[in-house]
Point group: C2
Chain length 125, copies 2
């Protein structure tokens, strides 16, 4: 089965989503991320979706799910690189990505994670 | 056509290769990387291949090609995350990834790029 690699950079984890997600892949990613957060003690998760041209309710739920799992494990999730057209479509569809933090690109996402720092200031959103 | 996203982090670019490369995708990646190096002034390129279970001569040539292009543009390329089985197979096949620098994971690759610093000490390998 296809597994999305998770890269560790210091206290952050980085996931680049490049292909349309299937159920199995999404579940495996949630599993792998939870394990990786537990093993590495990571405080932040960056999910890059710049390659996605469509974000439907399934992907939205998956992002919210990962965000929720990470939050329970005391890590902050930031979704980065969303294409403008995707943002427009999300709003038109009424999908608000509740509880998911976003940033324009990886660098801004990292800044956000560094700012949230040890207090995990966004943990209660 | 499927394009592999290139993430910028400071003066480094990060590419995560997750699927078996086709000719078109490989060519597009070389193009995109050359443009991105030119636009961003990046000094280092990290290519993560931890998701690849097979690295054949085509992928080997592609990595060497990217490395060569980056070198001409004064950037150092480091291939990271190679699976042990891939390394074994490469040697058995007699593919030595000539001119391609490697590191165990993204973090060590970044350290290597930082060490190579402004002088691009590895540029002449």
């Amino acid at each position: 089965m296809y597994r999305i690699p998770i890269l560790q950079m210091g206290s952050f984890l980085l996931v680049t989503i490049q292909v349309d997600m299937q159920d199995q892949t999404a579940l495996a990613l949630q599993d792998d991320l939870a394990n990786k957060i537990s093993n590495s003690g990571a405080r932040g998760v960056l999910i890059d979706i710049s390659a996605l041209e469509i974000v439907d309710s399934f992907v939205g739920r998956m992002l919210a799910g990962i965000s929720g799992i990470a939050r329970i494990m005391d890590a902050t999730t930031v979704v980065v690189g969303m294409q403008p057209a995707v943002a427009i479509t999300l709003v038109e569809l009424g999908l608000s990505l509740q509880g998911v933090r976003t940033a324009l690109n990886v660098e801004k996402g990292m800044d956000l994670l560094r700012l949230s720092g040890g207090e995990n200031a966004f943990g209660r959103r």
